[in-house]
């Protein structure tokens, strides 16, 4: 009998694509023969727009690329410009950056874990639990900079302002509470046979495949490669804190899930040390708002919750960058989606997509 594959578009409008991402699946019944990803539905031309704006004006763009991790976006860009200028922020700013980045990592991973279990078919419950802690973190951000999502907190040469007096008690209380909460999440996710049945052995990405397709972040670590820029190329004050890198063994969706859960714990550990070690002093270098870096190029990279977030900037000596490029982990991690999902079923493809943890704002920029 003559048959032909059924082409199904998952997205751009779909509950599980986390935004406007389109996945074109060729199906034989439920089995995936081919997966084709179509990106660009949220393209806002940020890289080109940034060439017309001053270096300081570009910081808000970095909030809006990865809108679930604005702090780390700010940080990566500021690092790149600081490298170009050859300046080093004061110690208090360095530690504040670590605190904010780790809080952001917890908030972002909480979302990632919640939506992942949601993609496994749970009816919003894990996500609502995750929102509870994320909400407290966003409150802290609001205290520090007045905004919850698009923080615009980091500045070239430090951070925009010092934290208010009530920040520290609230942050310390949150950090005390977090280990209990993380145990709760583990009880919810790890002991659940359905999550295990849905995620284990699904979407396997071997270490070799992961390295070949430049996958970074929890996905790379889930495949068993212990690569973490916070250790490999320390920035801010990460060389002064003790923490561990979790790695997976099989490289499947379940391992990525485990790695993210463990990173919540490690981030809590970093936060404990950072809140303790936070020195007094100025929080920025008071650089002028309009700067003209010397001619040259720089690449600033950090370990964002999703992987290696890099900003490549070329300066021609003018007030705005000559070239402004973002190495977005969401996009590069997603390139291995086809390798992971061909041969699985539609339901698995959604779980795999959930385990990649994309943010479409960063995917398309």
């Amino acid at each position: 009998m003559q048959t032909e594959p059924l082409i199904v578009n998952i997205g751009p409008q779909h509950p599980s694509t986390h935004g406007v991402f389109r996945l074109k699946l060729s199906l034989d019944g439920e089995r995936i023969l081919d997966a084709d990803m179509v990106v660009g539905y949220l393209h806002r031309s940020m890289e080109k727009l940034a060439e017309e704006r001053s270096y300081t004006q570009n910081i808000p763009f970095t909030d809006r690329t990865d809108y679930l991790a604005a702090m780390t976006g700010n940080l990566a860009y500021c690092l790149a410009v600081e490298k170009l200028l050859g300046v080093e922020p004061p110690p208090r700013a360095q530690w504040l950056r670590v605190i904010m980045a780790e809080l952001q990592r917890i908030a972002s991973h909480a979302m990632a874990i919640g939506t992942f279990i949601n993609d496994c078919g749970a009816w919003q419950t894990p996500l609502m639990y995750m929102f509870r802690e994320r909400e407290k973190i966003l409150d802290l951000f609001e205290m520090a900079c007045g905004a919850r999502l698009t923080t615009n907190y980091m500045r070239i040469g430090g951070v925009s302002r010092d934290i208010p007096a009530e920040f520290m008690p609230r942050a310390t209380a949150l950090v005390k509470e977090l280990p209990d909460r993380i145990r709760e999440y583990e009880g919810m996710g790890l002991g659940n046979e359905i999550v295990v049945a849905r995620a284990r052995g699904i979407g396997v990405l071997t270490a070799e495949q992961a390295i070949n397709s430049s996958v970074t972040g929890p996905m790379l670590r889930g495949s068993g490669v212990a690569w973490d820029i916070r250790k490999a190329d320390p920035y801010a004050a990460y060389d002064k804190v003790q923490f561990d890198i979790p790695v997976g063994t099989a490289g499947d969706c379940y391992d990525r899930f485990l790695v993210r859960l463990e990173e919540l714990r490690q981030s809590t550990r970093i936060l404990e040390q950072a809140l303790e070690a936070l020195p007094e002093g100025p929080v920025n270098l008071d650089l002028p708002l309009a700067i003209r870096p010397p001619v040259g190029e720089s690449y600033g990279r950090i370990e964002s919750p999703r992987g290696e977030l890099g900003f490549y900037i070329i300066s021609d000596g003018g007030p705005s960058p000559y070239r402004f490029h973002i190495r977005a982990p969401s996009l590069i991690n997603l390139t291995s989606l086809k390798e992971m999902s061909v041969g699985l079923t539609v339901a698995d493809a959604i779980v795999v997509l959930g385990s990649v943890d994309i943010v479409v704002g960063e995917l398309d920029r």
Binding site: S16, T125, R221, G248
Partner: protein
Amino acid sequence: MEHLLAEWYDIRDLGNAVGHFLTWVDDRGGPSWLPYFVSGIIGVVAILLWAVLSQLGFVWIERRLIGRIQVRLGPNRVGPFGLLQPLADALKVLTKEMITPANVDRLLFWGAPAVVVMPALVVFAVLPFGEHMQLTDLSVGLLFVIAVGSVNSLIVFTAGWSSSNKYSLLGAMRTIAMLISYELIQVLALLAVAVYTNTMRMGGVVAWQDHYNVWLIFLQPLPVFAYALAGAVEINRTPTDIAEAESEIVAGYHTEYGGIRWGMFQVAEYIAGFAIAAIVATVYLGGWTLFGLEEWVPGWLIFLGKVYTYFFLFIWLRGTLPRLRIDQLMGFAWKYLLPLMLVNILVSGFEVLIWQEKDLSAGVVLPIFAIVNAGLTVAMMVGWARVMGHTGSIGEPRRAQLISDVGGVYYEPLPGGRA
């Protein structure tokens, strides 16, 4: 009228009042079919009213409970405690536009939501709400509920097929696949009941449990579990809402439906849920009896209590569990439940045979059977799972490895300052 047992105001069985009314109608001297006609109308209206009111109530209860489960409040704005929320929802659904997409099979697309509530409602015709509160006591009640229940899946398939949408098509395919797997389990579960009670009459099943003063859940633990799961599959609720898996195929078979057409599917799902709960309550939980308490408490209250308690389980599961994949769910039916159910029927048959051939007293033999069947169920479930290769634990790893534990680092740290 043999219905007449007590005074009309005896609300322990609402059948009394109806019986008196029918006698009154008969005494007026109309045609002889009139009392039957009137009693039918009364029954149908009562079931419809009950179903709609229960549904409105449970929409509120479900939303509030799921809210509690999800550490939020749930609807609390419309009316006191948000009690009018279901009405607001209903109004919204009624006033929304019903869009008919291009290229759909119009007749089927229009027809499916129009008839989807019917099978779920018809099931209640044979279920006894009280001793005389039953629309009709069919002699093949058990067969009837299975037959009518599967019609529901066919309508769902029609909706998915006619929508001319690929998500709907996938949902429709999944519905049929699951129908085939789990109808079999349902039949086997109810067959075991028929073996024991020697009747297919719903009233007879309840009377049997009342007579021997034991619920069939104690004698038949495995079929209860199997039927509960098969029922959950049939009504598309998490963890088995595979046919309308939101995160995978948007809304499955009703993706293209809007307005009251979508509302009809929603109503049908709820009422089918009540139907499953009512069948379980009738067949396995003693129906309107409660070990003699029905002499004082109205039997229909006992029955409704059982139905609602069971429906609460559905809500709880929905708030707790993720979804299984379709091959896992169907594998469970064919590889796991089917052999166990066949063994269960064999064992039940032998038990009944021994009981009748040796003419033993029920007081002695039923407790023994209960213990034997419970032990056998546990042994079979665990044993067969071991045979199938499940170890009972979810296996390793339970936590990600840490680099400090592993000891090895896979990368070379970069020479500093490679900017």
